[in-house]
């Protein structure tokens, strides 16, 4: 994959340049997604002028929150040079396990939330250890985890989700802080989205973040310069697992309990990250842009709805736009060289 190689080289070059040049390159490479997001939001606002009012706009952010979490998780794994295909089934596991264990009893909500977060971390740890220490390509590891998780959760629950989520569990995905100035209500999921976004951005500026990017760019060079490559990669998988669990908690409240709740989310998350300029193969991209990619994808769904494109052709348009956006980003990258 020469394109990746070339961009990886470029990333290395710009990192050694001065601050101004670095800023310019990062804006050039990630600016596309913010432009696209802005255009889409403006277009939606033209079609539906009330969209930019606090209520509908917060509803949009609330809808987008789970995908943004997943995109941030996907970013950590992708930028370290791996894939995580297991997040969709992990979301399903979280929702089904929560519903069965809580079974409508509000007092069990917090212990169960702690449990599903632990499950997310454990799955991430497993993915990470198998992919690094056992040297199985992460594509295959996480594909195997996907099969195992889906099989295991339905084996345990007997084929169909049972039980129900308690009201206080569902509120995390649906409700918010009442009486917030200007906005009326600040949804918990939006608050969580901002917290995760800031935390992720700070994390990528820490030693860990730089080591992660160095690992994805060239793991040999990173190892020789003293980065504990395997540990860094395992931690990236754990972050992805935990964020998938958070997304599952939000989706459980927002969308309800079903066996299909996580279906295809792993591809949506990777698509969002790639839309945000993350290069598959690692070493390039910013986490904020990846999260903006998720917002763009959700805006795209909203736009398709407003355009009245029938449900079936929606997939086709989505496919065309994703290919076009990534092609455009590739073109921009070449132009900026």
């Amino acid at each position: 994959m020469s394109a990746e190689q070339a961009t990886a080289d470029k990333g290395f070059e710009s990192a050694s340049g001065n601050l101004g040049r670095r800023l310019a390159t990062s804006l050039l490479s990630t600016g596309t997604i913010f432009l696209l997001l802005f255009v889409l939001l403006a277009w939606i606002a033209v079609l539906n002028p009330s969209f930019l009012e606090p209520g509908p706009f917060l509803a949009y952010l609330k809808r987008a929150a789970p995908l943004v979490m997943l995109a941030a998780g996907a970013y950590f794994v992708l930028v370290s040079g791996n894939f995580d295909l297991s997040v969709g089934s992990l979301v399903t596991v979280v929702v089904v396990v929560s519903a069965r264990l809580i079974d409508g009893d509000p007092s069990k909500t917090w212990p169960v939330i702690a449990l599903v977060l632990a499950i997310g971390a454990a799955v991430g740890l497993f993915n990470g250890v198998v992919s690094t220490i056992l040297r199985v390509p992460s594509f295959i590891t996480t594909l195997g985890t996907l099969l195992m998780l889906e099989g295991a959760v339905f084996l345990w629950s007997g084929g169909a989700p049972t039980g129900a989520l308690a009201e206080n569990y569902r509120e995390i995905g649906r409700k918010g802080i009442e009486g917030f100035p200007v906005l009326d209500e600040l949804p918990w999921s939006v608050l969580l989205l901002v917290v995760v976004g800031v935390a992720a951005a700070l994390l990528m500026r820490s030693d860990f973040g730089r080591q992660l990017i160095a690992t994805g760019d060239n793991d040999r060079a990173a190892r020789l310069s003293g980065v504990r490559v395997d540990q860094v990669r395992i931690l990236a998988f754990v972050l992805s697992g935990v964020l998938a669990a958070v997304a599952g908690i939000l989706l459980g409240g927002f969308a309800g309990v079903s066996a299909q709740v996580g279906q295809g989310l792993e591809f949506d998350a990777i698509t969002a990250a790639v839309l945000g300029g993350v290069v598959l193969g690692g070493g390039r991209g910013s986490v904020v842009a990846a999260m903006a990619g998720a917002l763009t994808l959700e805006a795209l769904f909203t736009w398709l709805n407003l355009q009245g494109i029938s449900g079936a052709l929606e997939d086709t348009v989505q496919g065309v736009i994703i290919i076009a956006a990534v092609a455009f980003a590739a073109y921009r990258l070449r132009g900026a060289r």
Binding site: V130, L134, R135, G144
Partner: protein, 345 residues
């Protein structure tokens, strides 16, 4: 470099894949045993023997002609599409659009035939043309637009899914009896469809082993930049390989249409042919990064999955537990390969 030796499979006089340091090759690991496909078939034999033992102990029948033929027949669809998937994975690419393409071609094939034998030839031609067209589009998007293969073929899968859902909402068309016989006729005890699988695998084997195109695939998969600097037209190779892969998906679509009697919108995704075919290829010892492996190993991988499937069915294992065990086996097998290969270059 690994570029030099694409002899993916049996090399009677070969001293083992070039990637391995000569000194590290054990004395007995020469000839057929040195081929990358050898451990796959060793694993197949082991899985087969264990399955045989377990099934017989539980009072089932395993080593009977009908059961073996049944396993072979159930390998056909996955085997054909995995053979094509091998070609693109060897190249360092992959194709996630095959499952939707299988659905689309099964629908186009059966609706064009519409129950009349006279339409079989045009329908087959049309389906192959659609397959080639999709492969060409994939290849062009990957090479000319420089979109990563993962995203390009994922996008293509969405595009095809939308087209299918827009046009059809259930099984459609009907294949004539003459075409349906492809799925059911037998020569002696061997079903015709098994010969179809053998023909496709053989064609791809010969292509990889004896043609320039085959050598170029290994070269590009080994290192695309080096191939380009050595004067290979890498773009053409990538595009052609994607056309081959999509053609095998189209053939699988036709086969499934003949087997089911009509086209179905969900036949591809329900069979999980996209990820399952990649799993079979990797189970068959082909490196996901490209440049190393071969189609015979893939065939071994497909057979391993078929033997497991058959055993689980005979033991009446819960279908969810089946998924769990399959996941464990795929990871474990690839972990063993990774160990054998030593430190990656």
């Amino acid at each position: 470099m690994k570029v030099a030796d694409p002899t993916g499979s049996e090399t009677p006089e070969g001293g083992g894949p070039v990637t391995r340091q000569p000194g590290r090759v054990a004395g007995w690991r020469v000839g057929v045993l040195a081929s990358p496909a050898a451990p796959v078939f060793a694993a197949l034999v082991a899985v087969f023997l264990i399955a045989w033992l377990v099934v017989e102990l539980r009072g089932g029948t395993f080593l009977t002609v009908p059961n073996i033929v049944n396993m072979l027949q159930r390998s056909v669809a996955l085997g054909i599409v995995s053979a094509g998937q091998t070609v693109v994975i060897l190249l360092g690419s992959l194709d996630l659009s095959v499952a939707q393409l299988i659905s689309l071609t099964s629908l186009i094939g059966s609706t064009t035939m519409d129950g009349s034998s006279a339409n079989v030839v045009p329908a087959v031609g049309l389906v192959l043309a659609v397959g080639a067209g999709v492969g060409l589009a994939n290849g062009l998007i990957i090479t000319k637009l420089r979109v990563n293969a993962f995203i390009a073929t994922l996008g293509m899968a969405l595009i095809l899914k939308g087209l299918i859902d827009n046009q059809w909402d259930g099984p459609a068309g009907r294949v004539p009896d003459s075409f349906e016989s492809l799925g059911y006729t037998r020569f002696g005890v061997i079903p015709v469809s098994v010969f179809l699988l053998i023909a496709v695998v053989l064609a791809i084997y010969l292509m990889l082993r004896y043609t320039r195109f085959g050598y170029r695939i290994y070269a590009v998969g080994g290192d695309e930049d080096v191939s380009k600097l050595s004067g290979l037209r890498t773009h053409r190779t990538i595009i052609a390989a994607h056309v081959v892969c999509s053609l095998t998906a189209a053939i699988t679509g036709l086969f499934l249409a003949s087997r089911l009697g009509s086209g179905t919108p969900t036949v591809g995704p329900d069979g999980g042919y996209d990820l399952e075919s990649i799993a079979a290829v990797v189970l068959g010892g082909t490196a996901l990064m490209g440049g190393r492996g071969g189609v015979l190993g893939t065939l071994g991988g497909v057979f391993i999955l078929a033997v497991l499937d058959n055993t689980f069915n005979q033991l009446e294992v819960n279908s969810f537990l089946k998924d769990v065990v399959r996941g464990v086996i795929i990871i474990a097998a690839v972990a063993v390969y990774a160990r054998r290969q030593g430190v990656r270059p």
